[in-house]
């Protein structure tokens, strides 16, 4: 009986202590961490009064602007960039890693790392102003041999939603609730912007990931929410007359497919180079489609690159692997793309590929403003 009493007493004491300390911490947070409401000036045209103490990302989203971001405000994805003109405090360590020193000096910040503590003047990216929530229904999902899933969805709401070739959207794991921090990931749209009601995504299955196993388990008729469109990796009227060079690694192929489809539907015939890289020929999942497009459209130059050539099999006529460039996609870009050509570049792939391609293209005489990129 005495032992039982002691156990009860010990448990009670520890529980009471934990409870008391929790109450004390909450009380301090309530009393001390009370920030006054502060004015948030957006683009110099509108002023909103927002609650202090939260992150700028939360404040901007709270005002209804769909600033993208796919790491839940942890400062790892680097997508929620915006220009802060005034206020915002010192840089967080994450910003020094993800934003170049020049951009930091120019006021580019990660909205999730900026705490709203006083008056802030910020400029929203144009795409965050235009982006909306979109409700869609899955029409089909095809697992391709290389571990990529081709997901086709039909936009239900809002009607008339459009995007530009090369842009991306943020897919949500559940129906977005305003004020909530949902699980999202960025995916480029791979379909023709001329028919924006049917959207194609290419999803690289990541075993054990938070998002892709769920996405790759969707079946026709399932609801899928996303927000967008986002991204500046697009062609503008000023690019007419220049060649277009697209460099894609892995599922970085998706936005390039959209660009090619969009150009194929237009009258202008700018030469378009597509350097598509993958580890093996099987990983170039839309290879046959690209070969067919290149055969039909003389303006389209398709350069598939693989790091490992296929083994020669017995029934192979000896031509196996000839259609592929061997090595890294950036090596092929260095070899094949003529220097001094007026061109605009679209790069999408792993960070190192994008960085290497950027250097090569700058070396070949492209202006920095003509090299647009999205990293995976």
């Amino acid at each position: 009986m005495a032992a039982l009493q002691e156990i009860l007493l010990a448990v009670l004491l520890v529980e009471a202590m934990v409870g008391g300390l929790c109450v004390a911490i909450l009380a301090v947070r309530h009393l001390v961490c009370r920030w006054p409401n502060v004015p948030l000036h957006l683009d110099g045209t509108e002023t909103r009064i927002v609650a202090g103490g939260q992150s700028l990302l939360a404040a901007v989203r709270g005002e209804g602007y769909l600033l993208p971001g796919s790491c839940g405000g942890r400062g790892t994805c680097g997508i929620c960039r915006l220009q802060v003109r005034k206020g915002g405090g010192d840089y967080a360590p994450a910003e020094e890693v993800l934003i170049s020193p020049d951009d930091l000096r120019a006021g580019l910040r990660l909205a999730c790392q900026v705490r709203v503590r006083g008056e802030i003047e910020a400029e929203l990216p144009a795409d965050a102003r235009a982006a909306t929530f979109v409700r869609s229904l899955v029409s089909s999902r095809d697992p391709l041999p290389s571990g990529v899933h081709r997901l086709l969805v039909r936009v239900v709401e809002p009607r008339g939603w459009t995007f530009a070739a090369g842009q991306y959207v943020q897919l949500f794991r559940q129906r977005p609730i305003p004020g909530d921090e949902p699980l999202t990931r960025a995916y480029s749209v791979a379909s023709d912007p001329a028919c924006p009601e049917t959207i194609e995504f290419h999803i690289q299955y990541v075993p054990g990931g938070e998002m892709t196993p769920w996405l790759c388990g969707r079946s026709p008729g399932d609801e899928l929410w996303f927000s967008g469109p986002y991204g500046g990796m697009i062609l503008s009227d000023a690019d007419a007359g220049k060649q277009i060079v697209c460099v894609a690694g892995g599922v970085g192929f998706a936005p390039m497919k959209s660009v090619i489809l969009s150009l194929a539907g237009q009258a202008s015939r700018q030469t378009l180079w597509l350097f598509a890289g993958a580890a093996t020929p099987a990983n170039l999942y839309d290879h046959d489609w690209a070969v067919g497009m290149a055969a039909r459209h003389p303006w389209f130059v398709y350069v598939p690159c693989v790091q490992a050539l296929p083994e020669k099999s017995a029934n192979d006529s000896g031509e196996g692997g000839k259609e592929f460039e061997h090595g890294l996609v950036t090596d092929a870009l260095e070899r094949r793309f003529p220097a001094g050509t007026p061109a605009v570049a679209l790069l999408c792939g792993p960070e190192r590929m994008v960085a290497a391609a950027r250097l090569i293209l700058a070396g070949k005489g492209l202006e920095l403003k003509d090299i647009r990129a999205d990293t995976l």
Partner: protein, 194 residues
């Protein structure tokens, strides 16, 4: 008793230095001593948390654990108190000094696992100190730890001008510095009669 207190205070700083003679709290001592202002701020936080928790732990020990013979819960209770005090300190620094909060980064929550803080609370219990003695001992230990990290960061600034043996590497160099400092502090033993 009041005659003992100055000796206890000085002993905690010099002859019983928690970092250099007990080798407690070495992780932040080594990792945060690169930069003098950050080291000073860390020293201040550790001193504050150490003093507050030692006093709170003493009260809990004497008035809750000992009367019910629950002394074996002291580790659990002390750690809970340290964690809570750190949380409160973090909230306060975040509110009133965002610059220091930013400079600390991940290290501020790590004050909670600084073993020097737990060590001081436990030593105060083992040595049967009274409340005032505990307060003085904890304050002295905190100041001693701050002194050690300040000296270390001062020494590390001068590393720029010398070339330690390459084989030591950066960690080895700092460990060597720390051991030399410990030797130097060891020479102070006997200076203060506790």
């Amino acid at each position: 008793m009041s005659g003992v207190l100055p000796g206890l205070f000085l002993a905690a700083i010099f002859t019983d230095n928690i970092a250099l003679t007990m080798f407690l709290g070495l992780c932040p001592f080594l990792s945060l001593s690169r930069n003098l202002p950050v080291a000073a701020a860390m020293g201040f936080s550790v001193t504050l948390v150490m003093t507050v928790t030692a006093v709170m732990d003493w009260i809990l020990m004497r008035h809750f654990l000992m009367p019910y013979r629950l002394e074996y819960l002291q580790f659990l209770v002390f750690i809970l108190v340290i964690a809570a005090v750190t949380q409160v300190l973090e909230a306060i620094i975040d509110r009133y000094s965002p610059r220091i909060y930013g400079a600390f980064g991940v290290f501020l929550p790590l004050v909670a696992v600084n073993c020097a803080i737990l060590g001081v609370s436990l030593f105060a219990v083992f040595r049967d100190y009274g409340l005032v003695e505990t307060f003085v001992y904890a304050l002295g230990s905190g100041i001693g730890w701050t002194l050690a990290i300040l000296i270390m960061s001062g020494l590390r600034r001068h590393l720029v001008f010398c070339r330690p043996p390459e084989a030591l590497g950066p960690v080895g160099t700092v460990m060597t510095l720390a051991s030399l400092m410990a030797l130097a502090f060891g020479c102070l033993s006997g200076l203060v009669a506790r």
